[in-house]
């Protein structure tokens, strides 16, 4: 078991290395000068000397490979560089913006599990009925409608029908939990829309498969109640494969946050990613993506291990 974990961790190293290198060179493909971009704002532009000075200090005059190895050395010591935009280290910026998005993610997961699993079960149990058809229509829509459009429509509806206006200041959970949840509830739902629909569909098809299995018939033959048969015998078998979606769901969450946070004016990781890309803060882009990717790899490993642990057929083999 530990040999397996070590092997997986070792395999991650070349992967992250390839990603980092690719990002490094990718972002420097673009013509245009970082120093110029930094100093040229709407208000002022810089003199040639100021630009040259900045280039020297940023090490931009060195050969590209020298820059690369310098960057590599920094990363290996945990230094992901500084963001010119925010004038702080990438790591500290990340830390400050992470909280909101983490909360959104947690809320999103809770909300989607709360309704996606039950809907999937009901859909399977009432197969063919109008209830099933309605749920299937909803999941089809959930997967098809673009989440940013849903967000906009939701906001429009709130403004038009409830005279609501977007909150200006973000309220932390510890300061005022109720306000906090009120702010984050709708964005969390919208971010999780597509994922919830996917979970519902998967639960439905897995339940349909599981219900026709022999062991469910055995459970019925023992006189167990329908609730016990579904919840204790069918559901664990049907929902385990949903765990295989975990990586995809995390990616969808990040993608969702990038678009939705801005619409709801939430200064989280998603907005950070979007800003750093639209405003071409290469150090920040590189650092965030690399850290995100590393986290994703660990997440995948954890969910794989979790799956193996939860399935007795694998756990005890």
């Amino acid at each position: 078991m530990s040999a397996y974990i070590i092997r997986r961790l070792l395999l991650m190293i070349p992967t992250i290395f390839i990603l980092g290198t690719a990002l490094f060179f990718l972002l420097r493909v673009l013509p245009g000068d970082l120093a110029v971009g930094m100093l040229t704002t709407e208000e002022s532009s810089a003199t040639a000397e100021e630009i040259e000075e900045l280039r020297e200090s940023l090490g931009l005059n060195d050969h590209i490979l020298v820059q690369y190895f310098r960057w590599l050395k920094n990363v290996l010591t945990g230094n992901f560089g500084n963001s010119p935009l925010y004038d702080a280290s990438v790591v500290s910026i990340l830390k400050s913006k992470l909280g909101i998005t983490l909360e959104l993610a947690a809320l999103s997961v809770v909300i989607s599990l709360m309704w996606a699993l039950p809907l999937g079960i009901i859909s399977a149990l009432t197969r063919g009925s109008w209830i099933d058809q309605t749920i299937r229509v909803f999941t089809a829509l959930g997967i098809s409608l673009p989440n940013f459009w849903v967000a906009i429509m939701v906001l429009l509806a709130l403004v038009a029908f409830f005279n609501w206006s977007p909150p200006i200041q973000y309220v932390h959970f510890l300061d005022n939990p109720v306000e906090n949840i009120k702010m984050l509830f709708l964005p969390a739902m919208v971010i999780g829309l597509r994922s919830s629909a996917t979970i519902t569909r998967m639960t439905r098809s897995m339940m349909l498969e599981v219900i026709s299995q022999d062991y469910v018939r055995t459970a019925r033959a023992k006189g167990l109640s329908p609730a016990t048969v579904i919840l204790r015998h069918a559901l664990p078998n049907a929902s385990l494969p949903v765990l295989t979606l975990a990586a995809l769901l995390l990616a969808a969450l990040v993608d969702g946050a990038v678009i939705i946070e801005v619409i709801f004016n939430l200064p989280g990781l998603g907005m950070l990613i979007r800003e750093s890309i639209t405003r071409r803060d290469y150090e920040l882009i590189q650092g965030i993506i690399l850290i995100l990717a590393a986290f994703m790899m660990v997440w995948i490993l954890i969910t794989d291990l979790l799956y193996a642990w939860l399935d007795p057929r694998i756990r005890y083999s």
């Binding site: 022999d214 062991y215 019925r220 033959a221 023992k222 167990l224 015998h233 664990p236 005890y316």
Partner: protein, 330 residues
């Protein structure tokens, strides 16, 4: 001897693509307290369906019970509500299924699967149920029963799993065990062990045993009485002795002729039954067996034969069973 289960004219149908499949089309029989009854027939003859009908386990689309009565414990099981039939399942009638590899839940421990029925029907506490589960495992001769409880089904072999199923079925002290092809999926060497075990346990506890099988040879040692089924109907009934000694339906003759016998001569050829079992949605007119029957006369293609009483409890649904009795048809 009292009959604990009586089935009257059971009809269980299924909806096919454009037809109605009459899986069970009017069968009647009974089981006496503590006896072993075998229901024998080819695949598709309706024997499993008739067993599942008793406990209401027919998948409901596409199947339904068209008519009939199943009298058990003073009630017609077919008229019971869902919550009432659940009190019978597992508690008064236990079932053992064919595929031990897939009939146990892979993600639940043996202890959980053994004790949930016990706690539900006997109202025992967790600890008491556990003790009883260990007892049951010991009676089905699973070694080291106490530590086996924590394990999961995939760790057991097919034969062991079937023993678990038997233990589960017996654990609440039922009056009847229905075993649907209990040994078909097992190695030949294990088959006899399992059947011996079931017979022994049922005799010890005065539990009636219904064995459903396609293999007439297998039940020779165990059955008190036998029902032979073909295409949804029972075509011959009698004690084991009567059936094996003097079979009176051509189908039964065919079945017996196709089993190799230890006491037969080496030069005896096995006689398979010609043809294929009929499509249950498209049955031949008259006797269902007539296209494959070497003794068929014209009447067989027109009218379905009623039961003809022979000696003792022996009956056969055949127009010429009288001739067979006197040996005139040979």
């Amino acid at each position: 001897m009292t009959e604990i289960l009586q089935i009257h004219n059971l009809r269980t149908y299924f909806r096919g693509e454009d037809t109605v499949v009459k899986a069970v089309d009017g069968i009647s029989y009974g089981i006496e307290e503590g006896e072993t009854l075998a229901i024998v027939g080819e695949s598709g003859c309706g024997k499993s369906v008739s067993a599942l009908s008793i406990l209401g386990l027919i998948p409901s689309p596409p199947g339904w019970i068209e008519s009939g009565q199943i009298i058990f414990d003073g009630h017609d099981l077919l008229t019971l509500s869902n919550s009432e039939i659940r009190k019978v399942r597992g508690a008064k009638i236990g079932m053992v299924f064919q595929e031990p590899m897939s009939s146990l839940n892979p993600v639940l421990s043996v202890e959980r699967q053994m004790t949930e029925g016990i706690r539900l029907h006997l109202g025992l506490t967790k600890q008491q149920a556990r003790t009883r589960a260990v007892e049951m495992l010991e009676t089905v001769q699973i070694p080291d029963a106490d530590s086996q409880l924590k394990r999961h089904p995939h760790m057991f072999s097919g034969g062991m799993r079937q023993r678990l199923m038997i233990a589960m079925a017996l654990s609440c002290g039922p009056q009847l065990i229905i075993a649907d092809e209990p040994t078909t999926a097992l190695d030949v060497t294990v088959q006899a062990q399992i059947l011996d075990l079931m017979k022994q346990l049922c005799q010890e506890n005065n539990v009636a045993l219904m064995i459903i099988t396609h293999n007439l040879g297998v039940v020779a040692r165990y059955a008190d009485r036998i029902n032979i089924m073909y295409a949804g109907k029972i075509i011959e009934q009698g004690t084991a002795r009567e059936i094996y000694r003097s079979p009176k339906h051509p189908y039964t003759l065919g079945l017996l002729g196709s089993i190799p016998r230890l006491d037969g001569r080496q030069s005896d050829k096995l006689q398979p039954i010609e043809g294929q079992p009929p499509d249950l949605g498209d049955l031949p007119s008259g006797c269902h067996f007539n296209p494959r029957c070497q003794y068929a006369i014209e009447k067989c293609t027109i009218e379905y034969p009623p039961f003809i009483d022979l000696d003792g409890s022996h009956r056969a649904a055949c127009w010429i069973s009288d001739e067979l009795r006197t040996g005139a048809a040979h």
